[in-house]
Amino acid sequence: MKDAVAIVLFVLAVGAAALGFDSGVALNFIMMALYATLLAQAWNMLGGFGGQFSFGHALFFGSGAYVQAMAQLHGGINAWAALGLAVGAAALVGAFVGALAFRYGLKGSYFALITLAFAEVFRILALSVPFTGAGVGLMLPLREAVLNLQFDSPRGYALLLLGVVTLALAVTSWLRQSRFGAQLQAVRDNEDAARALGIDPLRTKLFACVLSAAFMGAGGAIYLQMFQYIDPAIAFGPTTSVEALLGAIVGGMGTLWGPVLGALALHVLSDVTRNLFGALPGINMVIYGLVLVVIVMFMPRGIAGIGQSVRTLWRGGRRG
């Protein structure tokens, strides 16, 4: 109930900002912050609530983006219908990789590695086969119309993203207070104990993986609509994977608002560093790395759990 009220307030505030501001800079900021939020939210469903740390979420992102592009370019399908296909395809990839990894009990760094490996395999495949445009990538012709899911201002994309982010908030809230969510967190915290209590870890993690992949796929599809271009490095390269996991970890894993806060904080940080150190390209990745180290060491609960982390540090403990 409290979640629902907070989500409504969030939608009203961000919606008012998106509709109220007219400057391109502000609208762009809202759009990109919501986009980063969506990626972090998607990662949080599997990583935060399921404890399965993927290092290759770009796999689902890229699958969504490419299906979105190919459905329109090769299939002549309407962009909105393509969005459905893209989300479905990403979910399917999630089911495949999840089934493979969880069937063989891959956890922790092994799960991170297999997701990374699959993302790389898909990147190389996308580079090699003709229907993904190989290294040249795929370009979407510019046809700005709501029907084509192309907007003439960032405002349209911001509102579209706000809708998907809200849906992700609702799903995350459901994970916090449902039977499935309780079982998923039980598997995260102690798989053997969960099994003894009648939970099937394979099915539980698999469903979380599919859910997470579907939202990541939506992120990829919307990325394509925003920039009308995708290539293998953007789609399946590590940058997107890192952005997704960093937002969730910095914000607070397994929380409702962590991904929102984390994505916003990182987005502000990267804007600031770009302005301050514009002459040093890549410095923002260095600063991202530092932020991650500090968060993992001193604030394992992220921004959303900052109060508790400060109390723990004050009492002299490292992690609690």
Partner: protein, 250 residues
């Protein structure tokens, strides 16, 4: 004798050259409170793992409620009504006591509110009612043992396999825990417990099996078993029974 709730037939498993459990057979009657004892390393926990489905036996069969459940994964056993606890407690540390127990309750209750309410009722039964909102990580050892019990109980188990719920507790805590186990058994749940604390076994169990080096060496009432020379030697070393007998005679 009526059909037992749990029947184990000639169960065996080996890890490499170590025959951890060898040809163990036992029948646990319905609504009984029985115990499995034996020295450290006798294979008690391994036997529990075999029965509950965490391990698959090399030979032998497990029947629960007349159905062959040999090698059935633990979550299906739990759904059928057989739940184990862990000797080394396995709380969901980040979650509160209430949430921990609700995970068990969710096995048969879909609604969140109903599961949380059930968790409170179960906490009452094991004496955790005052600590429902604590994170599980903040509980004492005794509290965590109660939590293990509560979670298993919340699954509405018909057979509870309790792996040393008294280990690591001080005498006062043991004294407080014994009535809890007794009341669970009195409510109709069949309990098979692994236990080292003989005070509890003598107090609670109607029937005892003794496992040593993977084999059943004795069974009977607690009083019979503790007089059995083979059992005394298994615990205290070969020849001890004879020396004790002489010492008593002298």
């Amino acid at each position: 004798m009526a059909e037992p709730l749990l029947e184990v037939r000639e169960l065996s498993i080996a890890f490499g050259g170590l025959r951890a459990v060898q040809d163990v057979s036992l029948r646990v009657p319905r609504a009984s409170l029985t115990a499995l004892i034996g020295p450290n390393g006798a294979g008690k926990t391994t036997l529990f793992a075999l029965v509950s489905g965490f391990l698959r036996p090399d030979h032998g069969q497990v029947f629960f409620d007349g159905r062959d459940v040999t090698g059935q994964p633990p979550h299906l056993n739990a759904r059928a009504g057989m739940t184990r606890t862990f000797q080394i407690v396995q709380p969901f540390a980040l979650q509160t006591v209430r949430e921990n127990i609700a995970v068990g309750a969710h096995l048969h209750i879909a609604g969140r509110a109903a599961a949380l309410a059930e968790a409170e009722a179960v906490a009452e039964r094991v004496g955790l009612a005052g600590q429902l909102d604590k994170p599980a990580a903040d509980l004492t050892v005794a509290g965590r043992k109660r939590l293990e019990l509560a979670r298993a109980l919340a699954t509405r188990a018909r057979l509870l396999l309790l792996d040393e719920v008294l280990a690591g507790l001080n005498p006062q805590e043991i004294g407080e825990m014994i009535p809890v186990v007794r009341s669970i058994a009195d409510s109709g749940v069949t309990v098979l417990m692994i236990e080292h604390v003989m005070q509890a076994v003598m107090n609670l169990a109607s029937h005892v099996w003794v496992l040593a080096q993977g084999q059943l060496i004795a069974e009977g009432s607690p009083a019979e078993v503790t007089r059995n020379p083979a059992v005394i030697e298994a615990y205290l070393g070969p020849g001890t029974a004879e020396r004790l007998r002489k010492a008593h005679a002298a």
